[in-house]
């Protein structure tokens, strides 16, 4: 045990002595939170939309006003026929068209349902998603008012659940879980794979293997400091988003921290696995950055919604651990749900951890042979 502690101490020395490592460890998370919070805004305001009102009654007028006064949309035109839709979208004067079917108001009153169509410009898929999400939120809001009058409406079903939990539609809420997910996987997987391959490259790994330290002690000793520092990072990110953006954790803090530990563990085992398959540091960095960082940012639902992806990307994304962690963090932080709602994602992360550790042990043995 004493041998082990000395070894862990040495790993801390490596980290604190290298300025670049420290920047990656603590500078990047801080910068990411601030940049995403202040600069990159995923909110939309004043998106140009057009209306095609085939009913022209009191209800449709009400809804139109609601759209235009929301601050998210600006009505630019009233169309007269379906033929105009193509023109206005093609010219780019509007990003979406809201269509009220004929007899909208009357159907709603008599049958309790009426249909509204939203056609968005799909050439900008991201904006289109936001538009449809925001529009559904507005409609659902309208429904709530309507229900108070004692009627029922099918339209209620259309509203997006996520909007319900983020009624102010604040962009900050969207990125904090994503930033935690990708910062942790960056630090854990990248840094552990680098630190282990560095020992290999400098020939110190051989000396360690010949020493009385057991291989498992070497690996754990190298990983423990990163576990501790990553955990500090989670706390740093959470406090920053709370202090700077006023974002509280709605659900159980304990659960959130426990899930973070699991995710850190998973990322560390992934890092160990990367180090066993890469020959040198360059390769480890390449695999971590190209194989992990980019897919995490692009495919895990951090920036681009998974619902909006083609099926192929959806499948690719389902093997990415951050996807599940983002879901977990969103559930706990924003919706305030408990463990019962996220046990599936938790189980997937546990399974992934076991798989990566298993593969690493196997690879490690083969390499020694």
């Amino acid at each position: 045990m004493k041998r082990f502690i000395g070894f862990v101490k040495k790993e801390f020395l490596h980290i604190f002595r290298d300025f670049r490592t420290l920047i990656i460890l603590f500078g990047i998370p801080t910068a990411q939170i601030l940049i995403f919070g202040f600069v990159v805004s995923t909110e939309i305001t004043d998106v140009d939309i057009a209306f095609l009102d085939l009913s022209k009654d009191e209800v449709t007028q009400n809804l139109t006003d609601k759209f235009c006064s929301s601050g998210f949309f600006r009505g630019v035109d009233n169309l007269h026929s379906y033929n105009d839709i193509d023109d206005i979208l093609k010219s780019g004067r509007a990003k979406a068209v809201v269509i009220f079917s004929e007899n909208f108001g009357r159907d709603l009153m008599s049958q309790g349902k009426a249909s509204i169509s939203i056609i968005a410009d799909g050439s900008e898929p991201n904006t289109a998603t936001f538009i449809t999400n925001y529009a559904s939120a507005i409609i659902s809001d309208f429904n709530k008012d309507f229900i108070k009058d004692g009627s029922e409406s099918r339209l209620l079903v259309q509203s997006e659940v996520s909007m319900f939990y983020n009624p102010e539609l604040k962009g900050h809420f969207m990125f904090v879980p994503g930033v935690i997910a990708y910062i942790l996987i960056l630090i854990c997987a990248l840094m552990t794979s680098i630190t282990i391959t560095r020992e290999k490259e400098f020939g110190t790994m051989e000396v360690l293997l010949v020493s009385p330290l057991k291989p498992i002690q070497i690996i754990i000793g190298k990983v423990v400091p990163y576990f501790i520092l990553s955990f500090i990072n989670v706390i740093l990110i959470l406090s920053l988003s709370w202090l700077v953006f006023g974002l509280p954790v709605k659900g159980s803090m304990l659960l959130l921290l426990a899930e973070s530990m699991l995710y850190i563990l998973m990322s560390l085992s992934l890092g160990i696995f990367i180090s066993t398959v890469s020959k040198n540091m360059q390769q480890a960095i390449f695999i971590s950055l190209v194989g992990l960082l980019l897919p995490t940012i692009l495919l895990s639902g951090f920036i681009f919604p998974i619902e909006n992806m083609p099926k192929v990307y959806d499948i690719v994304s389902s093997v990415l651990p951050p996807r599940y962690f983002i879901t977990i963090v969103k559930s706990i932080m924003i919706k305030g749900t408990g463990f019962l709602y996220i046990w599936k994602e938790t189980l997937i992360l546990i399974l992934m951890t076991i798989v990566f550790i298993g593969l690493s042990v196997k690879k490690f043995k083969i390499r020694l042979e």
Binding site: G6, F7, K9, F202, V207, S211, L368, E369
Partner: protein, 245 residues
């Protein structure tokens, strides 16, 4: 330890799938001996060293190092040997003292003892003032000497040196060999591989490997007499490339 033998190797075979890296090796190494282990790249030296140091399991044969069977007790062997590799084996971003403390700790030496030995060691190498310097700031020759001293800090029975003097100038190499002699005189067995044939002349006995087999093993003087050569280098060339010489 039997009759002062610290390494006994009998009929050692190591196979990787269909490739035979060590083909029926037989040799003994005695306490306090400087045993040279020569061979071209790929001759099977590294594999043999790895088996002797408990990193690899032999396919068949008997290997006893420091009194322990390499098949059954590789962990016990590890406690009784030192190792220094061809690639540099100290941590560049740690200071001299920190490196010594780390390796001392790994081998379970008590802190007080490590400090005493550190002082002795730095004094004998005449670089007391370097204790707080980072390894990366030291010249290569010094680093190599230090790495050797750290490898024998825990007073092992045997120290394995895998091409310890690669890339070092002749002067530093001579000084390095003085350290080796000094360790051997204290009873530490030195098992060394090298590319430099002049270094082979410094060894008590030399073995030469070729294609996984030991093809010659004797004192340098005897080898030169047998092969009618003026230097070990000539012996080596005659053995490794019999058709060309």
């Amino acid at each position: 330890m039997t009759n002062g033998k610290v390494i006994t190797v009998k009929n050692l075979v190591k196979k990787f799938e269909h490739f035979v890296a060590n083909d029926n090796l037989n040799f003994d190494v005695y306490q306090g001996e400087i045993f040279g282990f020569l061979g071209a790249n790929g001759a099977g030296k590294t594999t043999a060293i790895r088996i002797l140091s408990g990193l690899l399991q032999p396919t068949s044969g008997e290997v006893i190092v420091a009194g322990f069977d390499a098949k059954k007790y590789p962990e016990k062997i590890k406690k009784n040997i030192g190792y220094m590799s061809q690639k540099f084996s100290l941590y560049q971003d740690l200071t001299v003292n920190e490196n010594i403390m780390l390796y001392g700790g790994i081998y379970g030496i008590r802190k007080k003892v490590i400090k005493e030995r550190t002082n002795e060691l730095l004094k004998s190498l005449q670089f007391e003032e370097y204790g707080k310097r980072l390894i990366s700031s030291l010249p290569l020759g010094l680093k190599q000497k230090l790495a050797f001293s750290v490898a024998i800090l825990h007073e092992p029975k045997i120290v394995f040196l895998d091409e310890p003097t690669g890339g070092v100038d002749p002067m530093a190499r001579r000084q390095f060999w003085e350290l080796i002699y000094e360790a051997a005189s204290r009873g530490i067995t030195v098992f060394v591989t090298t590319h430099y044939m002049d270094e082979a002349e410094y060894c008590d006995r030399v073995s030469i490997m070729n294609d996984g087999k030991i093809v010659a093993l004797d004192t340098p003087t005897e080898l030169k007499r047998q092969y009618n050569a003026s230097s070990i280098e000539e012996v080596f060339v005659k053995i490794a490339r019999p058709n060309r010489s």
